[in-house]
Symmetry: C2
Subunit: 148 residues, 2 copies
Amino acid sequence: MQSEQEILRQYLKENGLRRTPEREHILQEIFATHEHFDVDELYLRLCQKGVKISKASIYRALRLFLDCGLIREVDFSDGHWHFEHIYGHNQHAHLRCLGCGEIVEFEDPNLTLLQGQLGRDYHYQIVSCHLEVKGYCATCGKTREKSL
Amino acid sequence: MQSEQEILRQYLKENGLRRTPEREHILQEIFATHEHFDVDELYLRLCQKGVKISKASIYRALRLFLDCGLIREVDFSDGHWHFEHIYGHNQHAHLRCLGCGEIVEFEDPNLTLLQGQLGRDYHYQIVSCHLEVKGYCATCGKTREKSL
DNA sequence: AAATTATTGCAACCGAGTCGCAATAAAGAT
DNA sequence: ATCTTTATTGCGACTCGGTTGCAATAATTT
């Protein structure tokens, strides 16, 4: 099992791209936690650690990481991009509270089954599978009931 | 079973909002097909039918239709919003080809089951459930194999 | 060490979506 | 029917996430 750094370096070499400290800093920061992140958060975290880097470079690096399959987009329908790193993560989906924004990650074995089934039924080679469920958590649900 | 027009009118009345020809034109155009759409497409279709309307009003109307549950967002991760009308549509998910852009809609009874289960497990009141699967269709998959 | 060229940071730019405002027009009251 | 109230419209200006052109920098190859 390769580390994410090794995967990146291999991808760079195979595509005639260059290994730079910026890219490695960004990658390291992404894999420092298992949280979802967006560009601003990532930028802030890097600044706080004293890493000087421009947002443009972060955007460019993220596109690169998407291409080599180290991260993936997560849709929170709030008008900007969110990401999560994939490597070492299991297939999982999100349950998000429309009230407080809490995010529950859950795994569903059926999802894996469904992927295989879809692939066969429609002769598709599946690349990604995103399940985003929205609703109200117990607390927010109760608050809502009162105000309706 | 009410028509979508009736649902809209009821919602407007209940919320002290007004019934306008613009809103009804937009709604009618949305339900004229069962296709997904984005703002530009919708705007174009309305223009072609001789309906004079501004994009700002379309954006505002769509937010309204989202609120009253007549349409929902679909995430194609291409940087802008897509929608589909819900009313009269069954719960369904999308399988999209990353090569040619073909979109297959499919229904999965397991999704409905999963919703109920999630609601119970996490004490969530589920509002929406989006499954977006991406991959390569048979044709594009073959083309890709050759070029790799 | 020199040559080549990918990458960076900056700032200008792009475009989807929003918003303030004056003009218009629904809906209810008289 | 007319008046009053106020939601809605269209316009254009604006916001802001994300992209891009370019000159300077720096990673790799020879």
